[in-house]
Amino acid sequence: MFVLAVIYENCTGCHLCELACSFKHHGVFDLSLSRITILTKPEVQTSVQVYCLQCQDAACERVCPVDAISRDKNGAYIINYDRCIGCRECAYACPFGAISFEVEARPIKCDLCEGEPECATVCPHDAIVYMEEKKAVRELKKAKAAGVAYGLYGGKETSEYPRKKAEEAVEYLLELVEKSGELDV
């Protein structure tokens, strides 16, 4: 089973996923039409991605009075707009605020793009990944560990982690510089 996992430690808040998502579904770049929402606070670096978790026991599905929400083969809860009466119950019930309804008078939510999540393909920093459940769990654990090293969780002290990464970058840069001497155009 594939899951869309969001690793918020990696997110830098560029909003490309929102632009991609709204484009994929509506052919327009419009943040309010995106199924994923990025709330940014640059000064503390944590961006929060609000999106649908495709719950095992989904509140949105349960509360829908006309059974308009059902799960597809990719595990995505899909809204059947032929049935949907636009009551917004699903949006109120979702514990994560993952369903929007402010536009087009109907609820919109993540449909996992029929198994090819557009957001994951554009995300530059692997903050959204679509992968096999087991692999996703491993990725998450790694990201959390790096987050601790980075001092993200309440850590306000300077930390060794970015320093190490910068050292590696400088090393690689010097390697490139050396090589570039031999390159001619």
């Binding site: 632009l19 001092g151 840069l173």
Partner: protein, 644 residues
Amino acid sequence: MSISSERNVGDILIIDLTREKVVKREVSPETVKRYLGGRGFNSKALFDMIPGRIDPLSPENVLALGNGTFAGTALPMTSRLHISTLSPLSGILGDGNAGGEFSAMLKFAGYEQIIVTGRAQKPKYVFIEDDEVEIRDAEDLWGLTTGETVDWLRDEHGDEVSVAGIGPAGENLVRFATTMVDKYHSGARGSGAVWGSKNLKAIAVIGTKGVEPADPERFYEMAKEDIDYFNRNEFVKRIYSVIGTHYGLIQWYPSWKYFQVPLSAEELPIGLRPQDLAEYEVGRTQCFSCPLACKDVYYLPSTGEYGTASEFESIYALGSNNCVTDTEAILRMEHMADEYGMDVMTLGDTIALARLLHEKGILSREELGGVSLEWGDAEGQIELIEMTAYRRGFGNKLAEGYRNFAKLYGEEALAYCYDVKGVNRGWYEVDFINGIFTLSHATSTRGADHLRGRSWAYWENDKLMDIEAVRRMLEADLPDYRKDPVGALIYGERACTLADSLGRCKGSINSWLQAVPLVWKYPVFKGTAMLLTAFTGMEFTEKDIIDATDRIYLTEMAFNVKQGIKKKHYDVKFPPEFTATERAKAQVRRHWELVDEYLRRRGCDVETAYPARETLEELGIGYVADEIEGKEFPEWDGPVREVA
């Protein structure tokens, strides 16, 4: 709901603060085709609206904010805001380019440009929510730092607002005060003081509309290809997104002790190396729609503050050039400059110049009134920065900014001023990079500058990032700087004009691959023509684009002609000790040869440096010639001051 115009170009918002009136004007397709957007729109507005030599701090000055054509789209790195005005620092065209989310928000609100004129009686701010535009009282905001201002406006209007505005430095008319976007993104050349002179504290915008390309599929396909390119590029992943412009500390020879020693990577003192700065890093960030994350977010243990984007420029200008090597102190100064809203480069260079003048005895101890100008004194510098923002004591002099500051101490001081047309950029020998460095500083339409074409002309940073792309460009039509430096520079200037007009970041490491979309794949102007066609639904050819950039550039030159710029102001500056040598004299001759060739190839009069009527008419802007041809303008000598 999409923005009103079918061409995806929003309206122009004209805000007259004297009368407190707001007018919206549609942009004609013709204008889009001829001036593209952003810097192009701004430069035209300034030329058309500012009559001649006026005091930049008078109500007659115009403040123009233009988002680029592609703002708000998934074409990456296209959310730069261009801010243009008659500069109170230089007295010529002064434009700056800032990131953040403002330009995307403005586009989503349905606007392409904001033009501010006049002067409000009392402090004001402007609040824009889609079609609603209000001029509001800002008395509670006056005096707040940029961070506090943004927080205040977020409290009032919600977290979604994006804010452009000023801090205390702008209010106090510091001549290199900046326009600050969303706390941390800064646009230089003194526009902040113009906001201050107009009693305008901030513009807050919320936009909720969408942008819909004329040919959505085609546009998105190309945008995604461009995103994908950066997402796959090794250099971006392993260097750019990790150390950002601190790359320059290794590659760009930051200067030590007021431009006396260019530091190589091995000479870089501890404290100024990328890894030393990274120790304060708690995350990375970027502007809207950019995949690069070139900016660090840093934490200052001593004050408990967060800051962001401690760029190369801050490190050299506030640090090495002043011999300051205390990492946290430099980051603190950078953050102070952001909070007060001042340009770090002019700030740092002015302080370094003061130190030098003091050392040479040109600046007396009495003059200083007790402040220390010892090289490397970090604590003293922190104090000086605050004094400058509030124009207190000696800070009142520093606040005049570089050349204006030197002028206070006469010819002797001016001799150490390495500016072009009032803007600081250090000094370089003409031999360096085949004359391009000095020539590009001389020809830049906003005074000495590294972002007007210079680094592109000799593909300074592209070789490391993607050498294949450089090869392809040379095969297509990029002149080789080793054989044709003038051709290469003009080519670079066109590309930068294009980037500034489309809203594309020129890349904080100044590379072709970032400044021009799809350049890794198509010849420079071809990819852009395809994008503009898909986006606007109007047919753009490569020639249309080259012509547009020339139209913009020559309009800017003509604007400066009206401010009294003559050919002599295309000069090159050396330290007085070097000027007298034979080597220097030969270099000066070479420089003027290059300037002549440049003017000829730009279609300007080689004697006067005025854009020639013929050239202007060919570009369809004969009206520009009507305003300058055969006219004498009083010679430029810095910004005009109406009142003492």
